[in-house]
Each structure stands twice: as structure tokens, then as C-alpha cells.
Subunit: 192 residues, 2 copies
């Protein structure tokens, strides 16, 4: 699963940029070849189909993200884990906004050939958040299954705020965005 270089890299980069602009279905293989500056034949020499190309793209992006989240959580303890995950996720969204847009658009689709891949990724990401939530609030969750839903909440909050930030107000400092997301969880809104 080494990060591709050379022609494969150009193709993946071009495909990602285009998919972020027009969606995967709206991106044609001719477009990808042109933007990558390679011949169309090279696309099919390196990837067996359009589906495989985009599957590879998502797999690569998702692996990098889960890896980053895993490391962020491993380096911290207790309540700081949530903060570390939120900070890391926001940094990743900023560092690769096109990927974040594509993932956000794909995450609820249930009809893709790479669904399996995508669900596994989703599971891993939520597992990191769930583990951080257990660390922060004690493992004695009141309702069974609620940790996973809370993990989805924290992930969804960060993703939505991150894209809101980068699409509509990209000049705002990253630290302010981290603060805003964490403030949402601080108890000021719904302390029991």
C-alpha cells in the first residue's frame, strides 16, 4: 500500500481535484487524462477501470486519515484525546480539502462498488472517536450503542464545521475553528 508516485500519482491527483469539483460521476476519464497530462491509455494501463481508480483514491485518502487519527489518539490521554482527534481531523481537512469534500459526499452512499472499503473506513474512524469518548466520559455509557452515535456526532460536527470553514471562510485561523468545535462539546449548550 505504498504511496504511488510518477504517473499513478499524477492520475490520482487529477482525479481527486476533478471529483472535488464535479463529483465522481461528473468526472470523465478523458478529463482526468487531460488534467494529469497523460494519455488516456495510461489511465487504463495503471487502473483497470474508472471504479478501481476512484476506489484507489478513496482507499488511499481514508488510510492516511485513519492512520493520522490513530497516532493522534495514541499520543494523548483522557479528555485531551477528543481535542487531539478534532485538531487532527481539522488539520487534515485543511491540508486536503478536495479529499474531504469527496469523502463527505461519498460517506452515506450505499450503491458503490467500493462500499465495503468505505464502510470499513467509516468504522475505523468512528472507533477512534468512540475510544476517545470512552476515555473522556468513563466506559459506563448510559445507553447501549450510544458511544457509536456520540462518535458519529463528534465526527459529523468536526467535518461539517471544517468544510463550512474552508468553503465559506478559509481565512479564519485554524485555532478558532478548533475552539468553536470544542466549545460545542463544552456543556455550554446542553449541560444536563
Amino acid at each position: 500500500m505504498a504511496r504511488p508516485t510518477g504517473t499513478k500519482r499524477s492520475i490520482l491527483d487529477a482525479a481527486l481535484a476533478l471529483a472535488a469539483e464535479r463529483g465522481i460521476s461528473g468526472t470523465t476519464m478523458d478529463d482526468v487524462a487531460e488534467r494529469a497530462g497523460v494519455a488516456k491509455g495510461s489511465l487504463y494501463y495503471n487502473f483497470s477501470s474508472k471504479d478501481r481508480l476512484f476506489e484507489g483514491l478513496l482507499l488511499e485518502g481514508m488510510s492516511a486519515l485513519t492512520e493520522a487519527l490513530r497516532e493522534a489518539r495514541a499520543g494523548t490521554e483522557g479528555r485531551a484525546q477528543i481535542e487531539a482527534l478534532v485538531t487532527t481531523l481539522l488539520a487534515r481537512i485543511k491540508g486536503n480539502t478536495p479529499l474531504a469534500k469527496v469523502i463527505a459526499g461519498e460517506i452515506f452512499r450505499t450503491d458503490r462498488p467500493w462500499q465495503e472499503t468505505s464502510f470499513a473506513f467509516r468504522h475505523e474512524v468512528l472507533a477512534e472517536f468512540a475510544a476517545a469518548i470512552d476515555e473522556a466520559s468513563g466506559p459506563a455509557a448510559s445507553v447501549p450503542g450510544s458511544t457509536r452515535l456520540m462518535a458519529a456526532s463528534v465526527f459529523g460536527a468536526t467535518l461539517m464545521a471544517g468544510l463550512e470553514w474552508l468553503i465559506f471562510d478559509p481565512d479564519q485561523p485554524q485555532a478558532d475553528v478548533v475552539s468553536a468545535v470544542l466549545a460545542t462539546f463544552s456543556g455550554r449548550l446542553a449541560g444536563q
Copy 2:
């Protein structure tokens, strides 16, 4: 802006169901006609183009949602507003999951002919959440622009948790999902 009936209704319903399964780009007009049980010509008699059809679809769904959120907030005060908005949004997502899936997949796209419509909707929804946040935490927000980001966080948390719920564990009672989302904001995760 009366809710269409008859043929228009069948077409919109079919288009929504298909778009939730395959995305808008992945849905063909022939598919829509077949599922709606009408001839393809009727699609074009009732809507001038595929884009207009889906714009109408999103507009209808988004109007109903903002209206519901507005009412929910108007009926409550203080911190209960957040809870009312989260509850209402989750109920709507459950009541029309296909629409929620389509909106979730569209909300970050910046290349659609109906972008204006979509951004306006986004703005209205976030305005409701922002108003509730102001009510809950006092208008003296620490960082300029942070209320909008917090609104995006709360909205994103609810949307992600709602779809997680309905796609992966639809038998879980709605009340548990509301609790889980609100628990995320309770301060147990990141109380300062």
C-alpha cells in the same frame, strides 16, 4: 409553492427515491419515468430539464425542513431550543431518510446549477441553530464567527448521527439517538 400532487408528485417521489440510492448524477430520466410509471415525455412536460427537476426536489425538501426548524425553535426558549432543533431534525431525517441522504450528499457541492438555492437553505438552517446557540450560551461569543461554526457543528453532529442511526441501526429508538447527540454537547467530553 404549494405541494405538487398527481403526476408531478409521482415524478418527484420517484426522483427522490432513485437519487437517494444512486445519487443525482447516477439517476437517469428514463429510470425516473419508469419508477414513476409515466412516460418520459411527461417528465419534460412537468419539468423543463433534469436540473430543474432536482432543483425542485431539493427546494421542496429544504423549505419543509427550515419551516419545521423555525417552528420548533419558536415554540421553545433558552437551552431547550437546541434540544428542540436536534429532536426536530432527527425526526425529519427519520421521516424522510432519502431526502436526508440526498441533502447530505449535496451540501458541500459547489458546481450545481441550483447552488444559490442550496446555499440559501444552508444559511437558513444554520441561522436557526446559531440563534439557539445564542439563546443557550448568551450572545457574547468569545470569537467572531464562532457562532456560525458552532451552528455547523451541531447541525453536522445531528445529521451524521441521524444517518448513522438510520442506515446502520434503524431499530434503535429515536429517543436514544436524541440522548446520544445531546450527550455529546453536555460537557462530559470537553468541559473546560
